[in-house]
C-alpha cells in the first residue's frame, strides 16, 4: 500500500499534494494495491472530499488541536503513529516547503532513508525506483531503497494529475496524542508580501529577467506580463538578484529555485550554467536576448534576437488579443 501525505494550507489542499497522490495512484494501480492519503491538522475532515476524487481508497484524517499550525515535530509524531499502525510500503510527499521540512523528520523517526525531489517513479522487481535531479538538474540519479517504508518527495509541477472522478473511498478520522512539550517550534503567523505573487516553483508560467533588465523598476514590465498570464510568476537570474533588483525568493538557478513550469520566458538572461540547471526542465522555453551568441538560445524552443524593451510592449498587445479571443 502507498500512503501519500496531503498538505493543507489555510484550509486548502495543495495541488502539488494531489499530484503526488495521482502518481501514488498510478503506481498502486500497477501492482493492484491501494493508494491512501493522510491529512494532518485540526478540523480538516471537510477537506477529505477534495482528496477522494484523485484516487485515494482511504483518507486518514489525523486530528489534534495542537496540529492546527504546522510543526515538523507534531506532524511527524502524528504520521509516525499512523505508519506504525497501517504499515505502508511506500510513503510519498510533495517536495513543497512543508514536504521538504517534514519528510526527513519522519524518515529519521522511522530510521529510513529518503529520496528528495524526485521527477520519476516506477517499480523494479516489486521495489520502488525513483529518478531525482542532482546538481540542480545537471545530472539525474536513479535510486532504489534498502530500507522500508520506501520514502520519497516528488517535485511539484512534474507529475500530471489523474482525471478527478467520483470514486468510492472511506474517510477515517483518528485522534492522535501529541505531548505539548514536544512541540518546541511553533508558527506564530504567516507573513505575506502585499499583492504576493505565486511562487516560481508553483507557477505554470515563469517570466524571468536577467542582467538585461538594467534596473529594479524594469521588473514592473515583467509583472505586467504576469498579470496577463494565468498562473504565472516573476523569476530572475542570480545577477539580477545579486544586483538587488529583485528579492532572492524569485531567483531561479542553482543558488535559487529549480522550476519546471509549462512555459519559461527568459528576458535578458545570458544563460549561465547555474541558471540553465534551474530551468532547463521547463516544458517550453522562450528567450529574448540582444546577443545572438547567448547560451540561453541553446536551450530555447523559440528564441528572439532583439532588444527586450522593444519586444515587451508588442508582446503585451499580442497577448491581450490572443487571451481575449
Amino acid at each position: 500500500m502507498i500512503l501519500v501525505f496531503i498538505e493543507a494550507r489555510e484550509g486548502k489542499v495543495k495541488k502539488s499534494s494531489l499530484e503526488a497522490l495521482s502518481e501514488g495512484k498510478r503506481r498502486a494501480d500497477d501492482l493492484n494495491t491501494e493508494a491512501n492519503a493522510v491529512l494532518v491538522g485540526h478540523n480538516l475532515e471537510n477537506l477529505a472530499s477534495e482528496v477522494l476524487p484523485y484516487g485515494a481508497s482511504k483518507v486518514y484524517v489525523l486530528e489534534n488541536s495542537l496540529l492546527s499550525h504546522y510543526s515538523a515535530a507534531g506532524f511527524s509524531k502524528a504520521l509516525f503513529s499512523l505508519v506504525e499502525e497501517i504499515k505502508p510500503e511506500v510513503i510519498l510527499f510533495s517536495a513543497s516547503s512543508m514536504g521538504k521540512d517534514l519528510a526527513p523528520r519522519l524518515a529519521a523517526k522511522l530510521g529510513v532513508s529518503l529520496a528528495s525531489d524526485c521527477t520519476r517513479t516506477n517499480w523494479r522487481e516489486g521495489k520502488l525506483e525513483v529518478v531525482r535531479p542532482i546538481f540542480a538538474g545537471k545530472a539525474f540519479a536513479t535510486l532504489t531503497f534498502k530500507s522500508s517504508p520506501q520514502m520519497a518527495t516528488l517535485r511539484p509541477n512534474v507529475f500530471p494529475l489523474v482525471e478527478p472522478e467520483k470514486r468510492g473511498g472511506e474517510v477515517i478520522k483518528k485522534e492522535v496524542v501529541i505531548p505539548e512539550d514536544q512541540i518546541k517550534a511553533q508558527v506564530l503567523e504567516i507573513l505575506r508580501e502585499e499583492g504576493a505573487e505565486l511562487d516560481v516553483t508553483e507557477a505554470e508560467i515563469v517570466v524571468s529577467g536577467g542582467r538585461g533588465m538594467k534596473g529594479p523598476e524594469k521588473f514592473d514590465l515583467l509583472r505586467e506580463l504576469t498579470s496577463l498570464l494565468p498562473h504565472s510568476a516573476v523569476g530572475a537570474s542570480r545577477s539580477a538578484v545579486d544586483a538587488g533588483w529583485i528579492d532572492h525568493q524569485h531567483q531561479v538557478g542553482q543558488t535559487g529555485k529549480t522550476v519546471s513550469p509549462n512555459l519559461y520566458i527568459a528576458f535578458g538572461i545570458s544563460g549561465a550554467i547555474q541558471h540553465l540547471a534551474g530551468m532547463s526542465s521547463s516544458k517550453y522555453i522562450i528567450a529574448v536576448n540582444k546577443d545572438p551568441e547567448a547560451s540561453i538560445f541553446k536551450v530555447a524552443d523559440f528564441g528572439v534576437v532583439a532588444d527586450l524593451f522593444q519586444v515587451i510592449p508588442f508582446l503585451k498587445k499580442e497577448l491581450k488579443k490572443v487571451l481575449s479571443e
Binding site: A107, G111, P133, T142, K146, Q251, Q254, A277, V304
Partner: protein
Amino acid sequence: MNIFVFVKRVPDTESKIRINHEKRTIVEEGLNFVLNPYDEYAVEEALRLREAKGGKVTVLSVGAEESLVILKKCLAMGADEAFLLKDDTPETYDGLRMAKIIARALEKKFSDYSLLLFGKQSMGADNAQVPSMVAELLGLPQVNVVTKLEIEGNKGIAHREIEGALEKVSFSLPAVISAQKGLNEPRYETLKGIMMAKRKEIPILSFEDLDLKEEDIVPLLEMTKVESPPPRKAGKIIEEEPEEAVKKMVEFLHQEAKVI
C-alpha cells in the same frame, strides 16, 4: 552561546558536471570545490550572533581531508575552532547516513551545544534532509530555510521561507536552524584572519573516536544509475523586427506549445 556550524565541500555552481557511468558517480577531476554557499550564510550568522551575544563558534565538516581547505576558510572568517570528521566514503546522497554521523559526533564530543546551524541544502546532493534529520535524532526543534534569525536568552524567532510567503516561527534553544540566501551577506576573510587561521590546528576525528561502526552508517539508498539530463532539441531562433518577431512568438505559444 555555544554555536556549531556544519559545512560541506562542494563543486562550485559554474561547474560542468561530467559523469562516470561505470562508477555511477560524477567525475571530480577538474572541478573547482568551494565551501557550500548556503553554509557560508550559516557561518556568517554564527559569527554575527557571537559578536552580539558572546560565546563560541565551532565549525565541523564530515568528509575527506580535502575538506580542511573549507574549514580553514571558516577559521579565516572568524570561527574559533574547526574539526574534521574524517569520512572517505564517496558521496552516498543519503541524508540519514550523514545525520547519524553528525548526531553521534554531537552526543559523544560536543554535547554542550545551544545552536546548530546548517546551510539549507548542500549544492549537488540537493537533498535538504540533514538538518531536519539531525533535529529528529537529537529531539530538537528545527526551523529550515531561514532568512531572518533573532535569539533572545534561550528563545528565538526565525523567518522561514515557504511558497510565496514567510512563516514567523518561535522556538526554544537548543535548536537546529538552516540558512537560506538572504539571511545575511557573508564577510570576506581578512588578511589577519587568514594568518590566524594558518596557525590554528584542525583536529581530525575518526569514526572510532565517535564509537561509530561502519554497519551503523551503511547507506540505505542505492544509486543504480547516473545520467546526463536529456538534451533539449534545438529550437527556432529568429532575428526580425520586434513586432513581427512577437507575432511569431505568440503564434508558437498558441499553436505549437498550446500554453495560451
